[in-house]
């Protein structure tokens, strides 16, 4: 992966997509081979707090309001600068939510806040583990636009795991297709969409990419 790139991993259930993220983040440490994040192994990167991670479910602490939740990594890292949290929230144009409690937000918004939180320490890599898998289709499209904007503004190296093909094609510059039993990388596909907006979802160009990935995943079942 190159710096600033947005890469998606797609693959069937149980092919080790999430496990791969956990390995990259240094949360798991049993693997063979090498993983390097800017020249460091995952464990080192984690201890230096160079990793941003968003889980499948929102992990906002219910007893903290939104801005306090975003400040949590700063507090853990003992950084006094709380302005960064406000700046990030302003960047996604959600400053009006700062004093709300997590349960007052929709699931999608909670996930968006979780993503903002994982950016607050300015990590080297942003890992997103199926962040929108439990959100309805229409809201998910909104979240995708939010996420794209975040990516454009921060230019953060992002790795997103998903099982939604359209999500992968819509968001990423490169797609890694994985297969299960045994879990391994099947193919890497470059995505060059001319524009990324809601119109493109129905264009030939977009559907073509989905067709290619489908074929890859279909072949595997035989």
């Amino acid at each position: 992966m190159e710096e600033g790139e947005f890469v998606c991993i797609v693959g069937p259930f149980g092919c080790g997509k999430s496990t791969l993220l956990e390995l990259i983040s240094g949360l798991r440490s049993h693997y063979e081979g090498t993983i390097k994040i800017k020249g460091e192994n995952p464990e080192e990167a984690r201890l230096k707090r160079r990793i941003g991670y968003t889980f499948q479910r929102p992990t906002l602490l219910p007893w903290r309001n939104i801005i306090q939740n975003i400040m949590l990594p700063l507090e853990i890292a003992q950084i006094k600068d709380s302005q960064r949290a406000y700046d990030l929230l302003g960047m996604v144009e959600l400053s009006h939510l700062a004093k709300k409690a997590p349960y007052e937000l929709s699931g999608g918004m909670q996930q968006l806040i979780s993503i903002v939180r994982s950016l607050v320490l300015d990590p080297d890599i942003l890992l997103l583990d199926e962040p929108f898998s439990s959100i309805d289709e229409i809201n998910r499209a909104k979240m995708h636009l939010h996420l794209l904007r975040i990516h454009q503004q921060t230019n953060k190296t992002t790795l997103l795991v998903t099982h939604s093909l359209s999500e992968a094609v819509f968001l990423s510059e490169r797609i890694i297709v994985m297969t299960s039993n045994p879990g391994r990388v099947k193919k890497i596909i470059d995505v060059n969409l001319s524009i990324r907006n809601e119109e493109i979802l129905f264009s030939e160009e977009f559907l073509n990419y989905i067709r290619i990935i489908r074929e890859e995943l279909k072949n595997e079942k035989k």
């Binding site: 983040s25 949360l27 941003g52 991670y53 992990t59 990594p73 853990i76 409690a101 349960y103």
Partner: protein, 267 residues
Amino acid sequence: MKKNNFFLPITGISVLFLLWYLIVTIFNVPEYIFPGPLAVLNSWIENKGVILSNAAITFEAALFGFLIANLASVIIALFVCFHRELENIIMPVAIVVKTMPVIALVPLLIIWLGSGLSSKIAAAALVCFFPALVNVLEGVKVLDKKMVWLFKVYAAGKFQLITKLIFPSILPYLFAALKTSSSLAVVGTLVGEFIGSNRGLGFIIISNYYNMNTSLVFAAIITSSAIGICFYYLIHFLEKKMTFGEERIIMERDRKAPTPYKYLERR
């Protein structure tokens, strides 16, 4: 709604007292067997000084025992949180201690700690310990694994993990522990005082029972239950002040929701 909160409990207790009064009057029960509420009230006023000073002693022992038991159970729960296998060592020991009747252990406590305050504190702590431990342990068991991982991603220290995640998460369970053990603490202290003491409400009860001064026994019993009630509501008040966000909202929403009975009525 607000009115009901006060009105119903007071009506309930008034009816109880009225029944008590009627039974004693109608059946003409002698005072040394079953004194009426007025006789008990008289006796309470006559012996106000003695009752209150001894109630203070009982309260002190109950409070300390209560604090020690809950503090110990929180510390043990934190250990279990970091070393899950410890639970398999601690629970059997706790169950063994729990199944030994406190009344049988108190003589031992008096031999070891003397007949003063410390043996009463120990008795109260013993009674409180098990329910407190079970509740708090339940709290650390339901900790959200992903939340723990979130803290791990940011390489949070143990202290940060405890203060920023574990403690706030177990707070509702801790309050359940505090509530259950608050009323038990007084019972534990009384048992301690029955067996070996010359002070405290337990002593008042046991010594006046020998003298057949039943009214005073009743007065002391009611006082001890009043201590328990105050204790419980103190914790309840603290809980309302300290729990936050979702739990409190859910609690309040549930209170407003129609009860099953109302639901049945409508059908």
